[in-house]
């Protein structure tokens, strides 16, 4: 078992280019077996999201199909899998960012504190006020550091002393000491890692309940990555975090639960659809996966 763990931590990031090997694996397994969802319901471990049969279509083409699993409160949930398996598509369902893509259509339910986020009564803008998001590439606004952080609280009309709100958020993102003397300077003057922490601060400023991170470290160097990972571990005492990552070591280091996705090809081999293969505590995924495909992926045999 220890061999396998070692393999997992050595595993390279999967590159988008490869198609055949994992496609083959996916087709083999596509023959009907249900995903392995291991945690049984536990009243002491409340879920923040309950995904029920979530499928996302771009036009008529399914991008992810039939995803059903809970995401637990104040834990870090990692979504891993090869490129094109729908990890980003799925995470964007959780704050209704897919609504911004005209061709996207979501089926199924995301239950968030007892409410279905896809209920017609629900305003996506209200959803996003509570569920923050950090993107793959740092995307600060072309404004001062201060205004970047204050933007969210201002647009949602938060009450209170703005200076305090801003300071609390920047401290929360472990960035205060680096920027406290230059809050009024343009955010574009910061390093990539600082910009990404600014984006985290910006998300924290509106005091959300959940933070979604879509490959937050893929554009960063290892030192900046390590800082963000430390930050995530700190933040999980207050927030529920969902992270998409291409980096399996990262998933292994920070997450409590891991969902492994794979790609399936349809009959004509035209459309690639993401499915969940296995969802389990992270150490189980990396040391004792129940599914052969998970094992092959985390040990670096495919991908």
């Amino acid at each position: 078992m220890s061999d396998r763990t070692a393999d997992a931590t050595r595993a390279v990031e999967p590159e988008p280019a490869r198609t055949r090997p994992d496609v083959h694996v996916a087709r083999e397994a596509a023959s009907g077996d249900a995903p392995r969802i291991s945690p049984p319901p536990d009243p002491d471990r409340p879920a923040v999201f309950d995904l029920r049969n979530i499928s996302v279509y771009y036009d008529a083409v399914p991008a992810v199909r039939d995803m059903t699993f809970p995401v637990f409160q104040r834990e870090i949930t990692a979504l891993i899998g090869p490129s094109g398996c729908g990890k980003s598509t799925l995470i964007r369902c959780l704050n209704r960012m897919n609504d911004l893509i005209p061709a996207a259509r979501v089926e199924g339910e995301v239950i968030y504190h007892g409410q279905n986020l896809y209920d017609p009564e629900i305003d996506p803008v209200e959803v996003r006020k509570r569920i923050g998001m950090v993107f793959q590439k740092p995307n600060p606004f072309p404004k001062s550091i201060y205004d970047n952080v204050a933007f969210g609280p201002r647009v949602i009309g938060m009450k209170g002393d703005m200076d305090e709100i801003v300071e609390r958020a920047i401290r929360g993102a472990a960035l205060w000491d680096e920027v406290k003397d230059r809050l009024k300077t343009n955010a574009y003057g910061m390093s990539g890692g600082q910009q990404q922490r600014l984006c985290i601060a910006r998300a924290l400023a509106t005091e959300p309940d959940v933070i979604l991170m879509d490959e937050p470290c893929s554009a960063l160097d290892p030192i900046s990555t390590a800082r963000i990972e430390d930050l995530m571990l700190e933040l999980k005492s207050t927030y529920s975090i969902v992270i998409v990552t291409h980096n399996m070591q990262q998933a292994a280091r920070v997450s409590d639960m891991t969902a492994f996705f794979t790609v399936e090809l349809d009959e004509g081999e035209k459309h690639r659809t993401g499915r969940v293969v296995e969802y389990a505590p992270t150490d189980k995924i990396f040391t004792n996966p129940a599914d052969k495909r998970t094992e092959d992926y985390v040990t670096g045999k495919v991908g």
Binding site: F151, R202, T206
Partner: protein, 293 residues
């Protein structure tokens, strides 16, 4: 035989000759344009030098060439172009925001509007003059030959240009900024108002100035409206009769006396200075505020 051992030569002579010839051809096209422009400018300045003085700016038109000046034309231009800007910039930016941020390109009518705006930008200005004459001066609006009618006609003329330039500026704001804003719980309008528009304003300003500088040089549509009259007073309001620089120039050039020709050349220099100033302002704005995302 191993090619690696052979020394690397200079390559075929013909390749170098072709390269040099091509470069010379490109250089001469550039020179042709520049020389023509400089020759024209020099000619105008030399012809008009005798009348390039304060009188030109302060005197009103007159039948006596020595007393004639372009004050009413300069003020007419300021009035008409100011109003044109006031009308076409808000409408143009609004249309651009709709097309970029709201219009669903799947719908045929939105595509039809887009196509038509492209076409409208290429419609000859005289056609707008006919439109202005038929609907604004006479016809439905019946405004008469006044400042407002002239400005409305020119606003219609340059509106497509403002729309196209504004759309480009709005499109240049990267989607990641919109996503970042929406993900913080901003509404679509808040995102446009507080992120997209501020990011697009340098481009919109540049495009609008260039559009207005086109309007300033237009004579044809205003001639059709009937602005080609002898005006010896500055406009006092929207319903004043008016003349503008290109029309005053046209008027003077068509006179037989040598003195009026000189006057026309001097007025052309004034018009060119205004145009170059506006274009320089546009370039400055662009260089200064252009964003690298």
């Amino acid at each position: 035989m191993s090619t690696v051992d052979a020394p690397i030569g200079r390559g075929p002579q013909s390749d170098r000759v072709k390269g040099t010839l091509f470069r010379l051809a490109l250089l001469s096209s550039l020179a042709l344009g520049l020389i023509t422009l400089i020759a024209l400018l020099a000619d105008v300045v030399i012809s008009g030098a005798a009348r390039l003085n304060g009188d030109l700016l302060t005197n009103f038109p007159s039948g006596i060439p020595e007393n004639a000046g372009a004050q009413s034309a300069i003020f007419g231009t300021i009035w008409v172009i100011g109003l044109t800007g006031l009308m076409c910039i808000p409408v143009g930016v609004g249309a651009a925001i709709y097309l970029e941020e709201y219009a669903d390109r799947e719908r045929w009518w939105n595509r039809a509007i887009e196509l038509n705006i492209q076409n409208l930008a290429a419609v000859p200005s005289i056609v707008y003059g006919i439109l202005g004459l038929a609907f604004l001066v006479r016809g439905a609006f019946g405004l008469g030959q006044v400042v407002l009618a002239g400005a409305m006609t020119l606003a219609l003329l340059v509106l497509p240009i403002v729309i196209i330039a504004s759309r480009e500026a709005i499109r240049a704001v990267p989607p990641s900024i919109r996503e970042g804003s929406m993900a913080l719980g901003a509404t679509k309008w808040q995102t446009i108002r507080r992120q997209v528009l501020p990011g697009a304003i340098p481009g919109i300003a540049t495009g609008s100035i260039l559009a207005l500088s086109r309007a300033i040089g237009e004579a044809a549509p205003l001639v059709l409206l009937g602005a080609l009259t002898f005006i010896t007073f500055n406009p006092e309001g929207l319903d004043s009769a008016f003349t503008v620089l290109p029309i005053q120039i046209f008027n003077w050039i068509s006179r037989p006396q040598e003195e009026f020709q000189t006057l026309a050349a001097a007025a052309i220099v004034v018009l060119l200075v205004i145009l170059l100033t506006m274009n320089a302002a546009a370039i400055l704005l662009r260089n200064r505020y252009q964003r690298k995302w």
